[in-house]
């Protein structure tokens, strides 16, 4: 038995079964502890948690807008920026910049734009497209498959 265990009012110093994390704030948590994150309330666990840093990008494979569904051949990297009172979600290769008051709204707008652009470029005849538009058309048509 260790010197500190076994007495009422004392605890065994070898109780924890996972490595301690830093938290980034004090007091340190012995469990999950990420700044900016908390355990989802819908799970019923309202434990507050902290962790370093914010999300910079998310992968998207499935683009949905209204009744239209596109599947990405390769993941679409949606870069996220937090402005003062809104969010921007952008993807430079697809030339898309979407804004929303919430992140979910910005992502929804992003998806709407992707579908709009995809439909536009799909319908655009090659002889009506300049060099830039041709490149984008090629990018859209090779990046997505429509789900029926």
């Amino acid at each position: 038995m260790n010197g500190l265990s076994g007495f009422q009012g004392y605890i065994n110093i070898e109780e924890e079964n996972v490595c301690q994390l830093t938290g980034q704030g004090l007091p340190f948590s012995r469990d999950i502890d990420w700044k900016g994150y908390k355990i989802d309330d819908r799970t019923g666990d309202k434990e507050e948690a902290e962790r370093v840093g914010d999300t910079k990008s998310i992968p998207l494979w499935f683009i949905i807008s209204g009744s239209k569904k596109l599947i990405a051949e390769r993941p679409i990297k949606a870069n996220i920026y937090k402005e003062e009172d809104c969010f921007t979600v952008e993807n430079e290769p697809l030339d898309i910049y979407a804004v929303g008051f919430t992140l979910n709204e910005a992502i929804e707008n992003f998806m709407d734009h992707v579908v709009e652009f995809w439909e536009h470029y799909k319908a655009l005849p090659d002889n009506k497209a300049g060099k830039f538009a041709k490149n984008l058309k090629n990018k859209y048509l090779t990046s997505f498959i429509e789900e029926n």
């Binding site: 260790n2 010197g3 500190l4 004392y10 605890i11 110093i13 070898e14 079964n17 996972v18 490595c19 301690q20 994390l21 830093t22 980034q24 004090l26 007091p27 340190f28 012995r30 999950i32 990420w34 900016g36 994150y37 908390k38 355990i39 989802d40 309330d41 819908r42 799970t43 666990d45 948690a49 962790r51 370093v52 840093g53 914010d54 999300t55 990008s57 998310i58 992968p59 998207l60 494979w61 499935f62 949905i64 990405a72 390769r74 993941p75 679409i76 990297k77 949606a78 996220i80 937090k82 969010f87 993807n91 290769p93 697809l94 919430t102 992140l103 979910n104 992502i107 990018k139 990046s143």
Partner: protein
């Protein structure tokens, strides 16, 4: 996957290697001696606030780099090196062993009780039809006797799996960022050893623990998510 490969879109947010030992009161009395040895690289000192559920001696002091990218935590029964900006196994291992060497020089680590390697990953996602697109990220089969048992609104799973005489812990949870409402999955892996530990074998424990956790991570993620991690994206 080579040990030292770092994905450009890595979800790793924290790596920790921790060594626990039978309580050494000297750690409390001579914390300053240890700090003097590491002060140049880890000048920032963080002390724990009062936590009514944890005895003060078990709460770690934390010494961090100026840029907060890495640090050391130590209490009466533990020392841990952590990195929030993981630059690969070789660098992490080298610094961990250096720090442990300094600590051992001062406090003589003899009765080790546990070593543990912890990988914490945050995987942001966008819901698909209001569900967590789990299968786009992880090979996780949680089949239940229900029609839609692979469709999840939220996830909260904690598993502790014996691996010979060691223990592997896996935590998978859905989280939401309180600041920007971004949703994410946490994939938290912890490989620990607690049988017949010897200080002079710490290097072996590091290698084994890291190797297991890394291999598990590689098997846990699906190919299309690996593409994203590698930067093979539009």
């Amino acid at each position: 996957m080579e040990d030292n490969v770092i994905y450009p879109n890595s979800p790793l947010i924290e790596v920790v290697f921790e060594v626990r030992f039978k309580g050494l009161v000297a750690v409390e009395c001579h914390r300053d001696a240890f700090y003097q040895e590491i002060r140049k690289e880890y000048p920032n000192v963080f002390v724990p606030k009062v936590d009514p559920n944890t005895p003060p001696a078990l709460q770690s002091y934390r010494f961090e780099k100026e840029d907060k990218s890495a640090g050391i935590m130590t209490a009466i029964n533990k020392i841990a090196y952590f990195s929030r900006k993981y630059l690969g196994y070789k660098k992490f291992r080298k610094e961990t062993l250096r720090i442990l060497g300094i600590f051992n020089e001062i406090f003589k680590l003899e009765d080790l009780t546990r070593t543990g390697w912890r990988y914490v990953n945050i995987i942001p996602y966008a819901r698909e039809e209001d569900l967590i697109p789990l299968k786009r990220f992880l090979n996780l089969d949680l089949t239940l006797p229900l029609e839609n048992s692979d469709c999840f609104k939220n996830i909260d799973v904690k598993l502790h799996i014996p691996i010979k005489s060691d223990l592997f812990s896996v935590i998978i949870k859905s989280l939401i960022n309180v600041v920007n409402q971004q949703e994410a999955l946490v994939l938290d892996l912890d490989y620990s050893k607690s049988k017949d530990l010897k200080y002079n074998k710490i290097g072996d424990y590091l290698k084994e623990s890291h190797g297991f956790a890394r291999e598990f991570f590689e098997k846990m993620i699906v190919e299309q998510y690996r593409k994203y991690l590698k930067g093979e994206v539009v």
